[in-house]
Every structure is written in C-alpha cells, then in structure tokens.
Amino acid sequence: MSGRLLNFKWIYFLGILFLGILFFWAGFQKAIDLDAFSLSIYRYHLLPSVCVNMMAIWFVGLELVCAFLLFIPSFRVPVLWILFFVLFLFSIVIAVALIRGFQMSCGCFSSSPLADSLSLFSVVKNMVLMLLIVLLLVLKKRAKKGWGN
C-alpha cells in the first residue's frame, strides 16, 4: 500500500514539475516577444482591439506567476483550477478559429512566426493538459487523505 502511495506521490510531483516548467517556458517565450504574442491574440479576431494588448500582457504575467505558484502547496489547487480554465478557454478559441477557417499560428507555446500552424492537434494538446490537471487535482485530494499536506 505504501509502495502504491509512493508511486502516486511521484506521479503527482512529476506532474506538478512538468506543468510548472511547461508554463514557465510558454510564458517566457511570450514575454521575450510581447509584440508577436499580441499579434497572435489579435489574429483570432475574438476580442475588441482595445483589449488585445492588455490581454497579452495579462496572460504572460499569469502564465509565469502560475508556473511559480505551482510549487507553493497552499496555492497549488487554485493555480491548477486557473490553468484548467485557461486551457479550456484556449481550446474553445482555437476551435472557433478552426471553424472560421483562419490561417495562422496557434501562439500557444511559442510566438515564433514559423511556429506550428493552427490545427486540431493544438486542441488535442490542450485536452491532454486539462486531463493531466484533473488527475493532479484528484491526486491532491488523495494526498490530503493518504500522505498528508
């Protein structure tokens, strides 16, 4: 039993580490080229143009803050919920852009002009990350009961 709990603990911490590194890297890439990221947001044509830059600035800060706060236990659950909501929102936005036939880069984890173009794969990637977050939330609940906080 303790062996199983130990495995869960490892899965949990590896998951948190993976998410933390992933979102830090994504936020850092966007922070380097804020202009390109705001252009990516603009190209979705879903926000009023006055909000585009502010949203770009906010998302970059939010991704970096979430990446750091994932490693602070008392903030872990709220941050996981925020990341889940952000990924859910991005999935909808990408799906809408795909339906509308926009030809553009995703802008999800890189703002490079030659980054991968928008495809259903971007939605699938977000779905997998959302599943990982749900798994981590479930394991966190177990952690409270099984291996303490």
Binding site: L34, V52, N53, G61, Q103, L114
Partner: protein
C-alpha cells in the same frame, strides 16, 4: 443509554458542522487565492511590459492594421508560416508589390515584380497572372505597407479571385531565414 446515544448524535452533528465549516472556509480561501493569483499575474505582466526593451502600448491600434482592412475587403490574409508552406509546395506564384528598385535589392525567391504603379507598363505579365488558375500570393515590405493590399484589391477587381495576401511581408521573411534572391 439514551443520553449516550443523544450525546453521540450531538457529537456527530457537531463533527458534520465543523466539516462543513471547514469545507466552506477552504472554498472561500481558494476563491481568495484565485483572485490573488489573477491580480498578481496582471501586476507581473505590467512590470514585464514596463521593463521590456520592446514593450507594447497598453492599447494597440489594431483597427488601422492593414490586416483588418484586408478582412473588411474580404481578402484572405496569411501569416509567414502559411506563406512559407505555400512557397514550399511550389505551386503558387509570389507577386512582389513593391517598386522594381526595391525588388532588385532583395525579394522572395521565384517571386515576380508587379508594382501597383507599373501596372500599365506590364500588361503581358498582368494577363499571365489573370490567366493562371493557381492562386497567387501577394506581399510587400512589412505589416505597415499597404501596396500588396491595394494590388490584391486591384487584381480582384480584374477578376482574379484566388489570391492570398501575405501580411508579414519581405522583412520578416528575410529575418526568419526563408529563401530570398538578390
């Protein structure tokens, strides 16, 4: 016996009450933390933009972007990634809308020069472009110039329907190391 039971029940009720209170408090503190994280994210974002050597304006002038105008005119725009994919497919003709002098200094490989101001002098090329069935990709210098958009509009008026407007222009194409000719 009864008081024992009653006592137990009271204790049980009390435990449930404490549990509910704890749950409520956890939810409240999580909501508070979510709000804190959202505000902290905004604060960090603002700090990054203030300290960034290439910070962006708080409110962008997106309504006057050439891309927005192209969308309004119903001309399909493509960014670098798509233009490069189309270039690699080798089936599309790239048209450089800048002046011939600028074209000579550097242009996308295999592109032809057709400036808006030289349209009258390049009738044969224009006829060729209008007769080919394959789509054409029109570009100019960068996202600020509108020569390509004006040419695309002109070509569309002449009957060329399948055309793309590559919005990022030659500047980004060259900067990203895509094939160029001088």
């Amino acid at each position: 016996m009864y008081w024992l039971f009653w006592g137990k029940k009271r204790e049980k009720r009390g435990t449930i009450f404490v549990k509910e209170m704890r749950k409520k408090r956890t939810i409240q503190s999580n909501i508070l933390r979510v709000t804190l994280v959202l505000f902290f994210g905004l604060f960090i974002g603002v700090c990054i933009n203030l300290l960034h050597p290439k910070g962006i304006p708080w409110v962008g002038d997106w309504d006057h972007e050439v891309e927005t105008r192209a969308r309004t005119l119903g001309i399909q725009t493509i960014p670098l990634r798509y233009a490069y994919d189309k270039y690699q497919s080798n089936q599309l003709l790239f048209i450089d809308a800048r002046s011939y002098d600028v074209f000579k200094k550097g242009h996308i490989k295999r592109a032809v020069s057709l400036s808006l101001h030289d349209l009258d002098q390049r009738v044969s090329l224009l006829e060729q472009i209008l007769s080919i069935k394959e789509p054409v990709v029109i570009y100019c210098q960068n996202r600020s110039c509108d020569d390509a958009l004006l040419l695309a509009e002109e070509l569309r008026k002449m009957g060329k329907s399948n055309l793309f407007y590559y919005v990022d222009g030659f500047e980004l194409w060259e900067a990203e190391g895509c094939p160029v000719d001088y």
